[in-house]
């Protein structure tokens, strides 16, 4: 299977501390993958590198059929190319309404002049309404997103990710701060999204990972410790030693 995102041999150091150490990772165009690992393993840093926020000291990151070199692109270019990201804590624009937040994320030209001339057409309004309905915010469209509950903000952020129509989705701890029912709904949604695109989920919660029912990559001290099904990795002695053993 050809992969849509190919990360090979990346390393990065912060003040001499190797946060990522010769890490390689790849994911297919319609695949769900979970990344687990103890705190400080480098999961968020890995996402930072893929999305262009942090530059690795060595290694390559390529994306798509045409093997775009992500290391040569800015954060905005990478996002436009089709890599979407959800942060650990919800980061929606609190001073703006749900509609405005979704409009910002909606797939459309990002050129300042085109944005200046942008007018909301019926089709955009329908798309926004559909997205809001999908994430359960249909009756919150006119509210400022700062007024939403923590879980609702997580949902809004997922809605914004969907609006971007990315081909690779990086999701950092999506279930944090969600109720049990919301978690179940999130799992279903992630599984569903992975039918048409690559989805990488970073999560702590084992129950959550189990429900995702997908291949798992275990990170430890900046490199891959084990990879395979959840049962496979949880039986790996090295994994038990560094991660589950503490748990």
């Amino acid at each position: 299977m050809s992969s849509i995102l190919e990360v090979s041999g990346i390393s990065v150091s912060f003040d001499g501390f190797r946060a990522i150490n010769n890490l390689s990772f790849s994911i297919g165009p319609a695949e769900l993958r979970a990344i687990i690992g103890p705190n400080g393993a480098g999961k968020s840093t890995f996402m930072d590198i893929v999305t262009g926020k942090t530059r690795p000291d060595e290694g390559t990151v390529t994306f798509g059929e045409r093997s775009l070199n992500c290391l040569r692109m800015s954060e905005a270019q990478i996002a436009r190319a089709g890599i979407g990201r959800k942060f650990q804590r919800p980061t929606v624009f609190e001073d703006q309404t749900v509609t405005e937040n979704l409009t910002l994320a909606l797939k459309a030209s990002r050129n300042p002049l085109r944005v200046l001339g942008w007018r909301r057409k019926l089709i955009d309004a329908e798309r926004i309404a559909a997205l809001a309905a999908q994430v359960g915010l249909a009756d919150q469209l006119a509210r400022k997103s700062g007024e939403l509950s923590h879980g609702q903000k997580q949902w809004l952020e997922i809605g914004m990710l969907l609006a971007q129509e990315p081909r690779v989705l990086l999701v950092d701890e999506p279930a944090a701060g969600m109720t049990l029912a919301e978690r179940e709904q999130t799992t279903a949604m992630l599984v569903d999204m992975a039918k048409t695109r690559a989805v990488v989920v970073v999560e702590h919660d084992m129950e959550f990972i189990r429900r995702l029912n997908c291949k798992v990559t275990v990170l430890h001290e900046g490199s891959v410790l084990a990879e395979g099904s959840l049962d496979h990795v949880t039986m790996n002695p090295a994994v038990i030693d560094v991660y589950l053993g503490r748990g």
Binding site: S74, A76, A79, F93, L104, G146, E147, H150
Partner: protein, 410 residues
């Protein structure tokens, strides 16, 4: 579903109506066109105030909406003034020189006229050559184009360097101050070609309109300033009201997040920086013919800080707030520094407002920043019962959304 800007945004309509009413009152009170209860010099003060309001609109766009605290925008304002001042001075001097040479027996050559103009303008700095920067001063259309091009290009280059290097926050403010200071120091030099600290003068006389009195001219400029302010208000409310406004407010609140949505934050900042620089330059073009004189002191860094103070006092992040702030503070300022407010004698201390006005303004600025961050504009929220929660300065974190505070009460 289509609605005009005016229907979507009733505050624009109210603003335009008030501005029109104000213009009518001034016109019918002027010495040239009305009862004469508004003196010509006061018409000029009001016209200049409108230009300052225009600059404040630009400041609100870049600071209030995009969150970039530029402390250099009055440099673009002064630059606009210099560029139009060059044409005004050149063309006016040309009239005088031609009239003087007409007394001679032989008709004057073009070279003689040029020489005469140069001597007239640059005698004060001991030179009689026309500097290179005056190459196009003879032509109004070219000089008007330069009014847009020079400040626009300067802003573009400066902004490109600063934003590309991701300079933000206080560092950017300091950098803009440094730019302003450098420009002012350059202009102070006699060999900068702009008459050093003498600056340009006699700008109130419009070439070709020698027989139109200042009483009339002042009203014409007032009208033009009002028109420019109205136009800018309409255009800018369109800019901040749509998706573009949403993007720049998002950049103000969390620029990293905006990048991950695929927007090139730097391009947006550069666009706004350049656009507001040009608006400031246009405001300067209208301001200085009413002031009559411009010198390098006009682009002292403090001028740009004042601009920020006006917007803060008026209420940033809303266009009418900027206009109210600029009008209110600059009119109060000319009242207090004009020596018309009686001094307060405290025995040991005599508060003479000409000197103490700055102190008062500083104190008000601090108080507004601490206790009324929404400025005067916040009063409208009070009147409309639009309340925002008191977060005690805490950021809008995930757990303190405003309605949650309300929910907690209920």
């Amino acid at each position: 579903m289509k609605q005009g800007i005016l229907a979507r945004n009733p505050s624009v309509l109210i603003f335009l109506a008030l501005l029109a009413l104000f213009t009518l009152i001034v016109t019918f009170g002027s010495e040239a066109y009305g009862a004469g209860f508004v003196s010509t010099s006061f018409v000029k003060t009001l016209g200049k105030t409108l230009c300052l309001c225009l600059a404040a609109l630009a400041m609100d766009l870049i600071w209030g909406y995009a969150g970039i605290l530029s402390l250099g925008h009055m440099a673009f304002f002064a630059l606009g003034g210099y560029l139009i001042g060059m044409w005004l001075m050149y063309a006016r001097t040309e009239e005088i020189v031609v009239a003087a040479l007409a007394q001679d027996a032989l008709p004057a050559t073009a070279e003689e006229i040029r020489q005469g103009i140069a001597t007239q303008i640059f005698g004060v700095v001991g030179s009689s050559d026309l500097p290179l920067v005056w190459s196009f001063a003879y032509s109004l259309p070219i000089q008007l184009a330069l009014v847009i091009l020079v400040p626009g290009l300067l802003a573009l280059i400066f902004g490109w360097l600063a934003f590309r290097a991701r300079v933000t926050g206080v560092y950017l403010s300091i950098l803009t101050q440094a730019m302003t200071l450098a420009l002012a120091l350059y202009l102070f030099q006699n060999d900068s070609g702009l008459r050093g600290n003498n600056g340009l003068s006699g700008l109130q006389n419009l070439p070709g309109l020698g027989d139109v009195g200042q009483d009339q001219l002042s009203v014409w400029f007032f009208w033009t300033s009002a028109l420019a302010l109205a136009g800018a208000y309409i255009v800018l409310s369109g800019v901040v009201g749509g998706k573009f406004g949403s993007v720049i407010r998002a950049i103000r609140d969390d620029e990293a997040r905006v990048r991950f949505l695929g927007y090139s934050v730097e391009s947006y900042k550069l666009f706004i920086f350049t656009l507001t620089a040009v608006i400031c330059a246009i405001a300067g073009v209208l301001y200085y013919p009413q002031a009559g004189i411009i010198n390098p002191a006009e682009l002292a860094p403090i001028a740009s800080i004042y601009l920020a103070v006006w917007v803060a006092i008026g209420g940033r992040g809303r266009l009418y707030g900027a206009v109210i702030g600029a009008a209110f503070v600059s009119l109060m300022s000319s009242l207090f520094t004009g020596g018309r407010v009686p001094a307060i004698d405290l025995g040991i201390l005599r508060i003479d407002w000409v000197d103490w006005w700055q102190v008062l303004l500083g104190v008000v600025f601090v108080l507004v920043t601490l206790f009324a961050p929404k400025g005067i504009g916040g009063l409208f929220d009070l009147a409309l019962h639009r309340r925002s929660p008191d977060r005690k300065g805490a950021p809008l974190g995930p757990e303190d959304g405003s309605l949650q505070e309300k929910e907690a009460l209920e």
